[in-house]
């Protein structure tokens, strides 16, 4: 039996022995869908095109057991946006920590809570949960669905919530266990949401976080989704986002991934309404034996939708970076404008990048472009900086930082832009 199927079996066994505290028929049925889909397909292996470059054999050492609830002290959490009065939600091993969180905006179209509370108290979230993503599309979504219990639930209608919501996901790395945060983010009817997510891990043990997020933006709404993945050295973070963007709405994603042994960050967006727009920006950095994988798919399903994608990576040591970006234009989706750019810097001779841009176009009147480069630092630029007195290591750091920062030129909020720049600088000086 292959390692992947063994892990699959463990995960399924674990799931079937679980007792869910909050039982509702629709929720039971959703979880059953997840487990059925996962039983059928199991963990993806490298024969699946989307998983060609990321072998989940790297899960070796993960037990398949669920992560325990663990207490975390306030002083173990540093906030990125602490100077602002913002909503803050903390999850430890996938469980909401009320005592560490602070939800200040409620009512008037704003509904921010832990998913477990939504599941316990009403059927409201049944309108969305499992309706945006299909378990058949993505085996990791199916696995997450089998374990739906807690996560972040944000629904904003007819209200521009400009102050960012800060969400921290902590993995404590207890006994090689797994957790499955499930998030749902909805902006409807002239709504705006800004979310800053951060994924961190403690300790040196292996763990797996398999997060899944469903996002719906509709009717003149906008979501700015900022995410920073800084998992612990042996952390495995497999994250899937499924977003649907409808009429005159916009989903902007900014992802920075620097940590963990394995980080797979998959984003799947459908532009499914008139003038829908998706913008995906990302930076991945890795060194030593790290493996970082950013796989995206943007579907243009109706006429006159637009997308821009800009990912940059810097790989050092023996690290491996994967970028797979695909733009799909459906039959009849005329007037589509889709642009994708991916640039990579190799900082050592052992580092590796696999970049695979893809266009799949079934409409006639479209503008689509993709560009992809992989190279080393520019000697001329390096000499220019050194000729100004800047030492070689500093000159290299400045060039790498500048190269990566370019991916985030679309961040309009200065405090958040500063955070991203600072995180990139932190990676440089380690």
């Amino acid at each position: 039996m292959s390692l992947v199927s063994e892990i699959t079996r463990n995960l399924v066994n674990e799931q079937s022995t679980m007792q869910f505290p909050q039982s509702k028929p629709w929720l039971e049925s959703l979880r059953a869908d997840g487990i059925d889909a996962f039983k059928k397909d199991g963990l993806p292996d490298i024969n699946i095109e989307k998983w060609k470059y990321t072998n989940l054999n790297q899960l070796n050492g993960v037990t398949g057991e669920r992560s325990p609830e663990v207490a975390v002290n306030q002083d173990q959490i540093t906030w990125l946006l602490d100077e602002v009065e913002t909503n803050k939600l903390v999850f430890v091993n996938g469980y909401f920590k009320k005592s560490l969180s602070k939800i200040i905006d409620v009512g008037q179209g704003i509904r921010i809570s832990a998913l477990c509370n939504e599941l316990l108290n009403s059927d409201f979230i049944n309108n969305y949960l499992g309706k945006i993503a299909s378990t058949a599309d993505n085996p990791l979504f199916a696995l997450n669905t089998a374990f739906i219990e807690d996560g972040c639930s944000i629904v904003v209608e007819n209200c521009k919530l400009l102050k960012p919501i800060e969400v921290v996901y902590i993995s404590t790395g207890s006994n090689a266990t797994c957790h499955y945060p499930r998030n749902i983010i909805i902006a409807r009817n002239n709504a705006e949401i800004n979310i800053v997510e951060r994924h961190i891990g403690f300790g040196g043990e292996v763990y797996m976080s398999n997060g899944a997020t469903e996002i719906l933006v509709e009717d003149h709404s906008k979501i700015n989704h900022y995410r920073i993945f800084e998992d612990a050295v042996n952390g495995i973070n497999l994250s899937s986002v499924r977003a649907v963007v409808k009429d005159y709405s916009c989903y902007n994603s900014f992802v920075l991934s620097t940590g963990g042994r394995l980080n797979r960050c998959e984003i799947d967006v459908s532009c499914a309404g008139d003038r829908a727009n998706a913008s995906l920006s990302g930076v991945y950095t890795a060194r030593d034996q790290q493996h970082t994988d950013h796989t995206t798919r943007i579907e243009h399903l109706v006429p006159n939708t637009t997308s821009v994608e800009n990912y940059r990576g810097a790989l050092d040591g023996s690290a491996r970076g994967i970028f797979q970006g695909s733009i799909f234009v459906a039959v009849g989706a005329d007037g589509t404008d889709g642009r994708m750019s991916n640039k990579n810097l190799l900082l050592s001779s052992q580092a590796e990048v696999n970049a695979k841009p893809q266009l799949e176009i079934y409409a006639d009147d479209v503008q689509c472009a993709h560009g992809c480069t992989t190279g080393e630092l520019d000697d001329e630029a390096l000499f220019y900086l050194r000729s100004r007195g800047i030492t070689e290591p500093n000159a290299r750091a400045i060039l790498v930082e500048g190269f990566l920062n370019e991916a985030f030129s679309g961040i309009e909020e200065q405090t958040i832009l500063d955070v991203f720049h600072e995180k990139i600088r932190d990676w440089m000086v380690i």
Binding site: D378, D379, E380, A381, F383, Y384, L385, R386, S387, R388, G389, I390, T391, E392, N394, A395, I398, L399, E401, G402, F403, L404, N405, E406
Partner: protein
């Protein structure tokens, strides 16, 4: 201050400089003129320590030290500055941050206290006024989208803030219109001092209307073939370099 003796330099298999001799005293402005391919830019790169220029023979002594032993950043710390003919674009790095990194690196090397953000801003603004450089230009990425004139003004700004002992200006007039040439020429002239030497490499005489040289050299086929005062530049402008190529041939 600077003494170059019998300098031979190869780029790849090709010999570019073939026994160049040059001596510059403190505070002097020397111009080097010459036809295309004479080795003018090679000389500027050898002085600033660019890789790929192999010195096969000869010496360069700078303030009594062996310049050829030094890394580019050390040369900058020791006071050598090269204004590039083609300043390099660096996307993603703001001009302000670049200048601050450069100035603080050099200050650190020279044993001066590094500037904090406020001190640096004040310091740099004194220089930008003279060179007609806007705050907006400082926010933009280094040389990215700069016009020819902006690039050269930015080079002179770097020279001003790095306060070199020997400034090498490699065809600083190339790509400049009349107004930009005047601003750059005046900017450089303002930086003349008895403690600062300059080596102005140029193809045309026009920059020397603004930066009046003490000594003019003609570089042809890898050697200095003539030396004179500022009038030599005027003669060259009139007669061209042909007589030198014949002499060498």
């Amino acid at each position: 201050m600077l003494e170059i003796n019998n300098l031979h330099v190869n780029v790849g298999e090709t010999q570019i400089l073939k026994g160049l001799n040059l001596k510059i005293n403190s505070g002097e402005v020397h111009a080097i003129m010459g036809p295309n391919g004479a080795g003018k830019s090679t000389l500027s790169y050898v002085l600033s320590g660019r890789a790929g220029y192999e010195v096969t023979e000869g010496t360069i002594s700078y303030q009594g030290k062996n310049l050829l032993d030094m890394e580019p950043e050390k040369r900058a710390g020791e006071g050598i500055f090269l204004a590039f003919q083609y300043p390099v674009e660096i996307p993603g790095v703001s001009t302000m941050n670049f200048l601050k990194a450069a100035v603080n690196s050099v200050r650190k090397y020279r044993g001066d206290k590094e500037f904090d953000a406020m001190e640096f801003l004040k310091f740099v603004r004194e220089q930008t006024k003279i060179l007609n450089i806007s705050d907006d230009m400082l926010k933009r990425a280094v040389n990215v989208g700069f016009s020819g004139g902006e690039k050269k003004r930015a080079e002179v700004l770097q020279m001003a803030v790095l306060d070199p002992i020997l400034a090498v200006l490699d065809e600083t007039d190339s790509g400049l219109d009349v107004d930009a040439l005047r601003i750059v020429g005046e900017g450089v002239t303002a930086l003349r001092s008895s403690k600062r030497s300059m080596l102005v490499i140029t193809h045309y005489q026009r920059l020397l209307d603004y930066i009046i040289p003490d000594v003019v050299h003609v570089l042809s086929s890898g050697k200095i073939v003539d030396t004179g005062d500022k009038n030599l530049a005027l003669e060259l402008e009139k007669n061209g370099y042909e007589i030198y190529s014949e002499a060498v041939a």
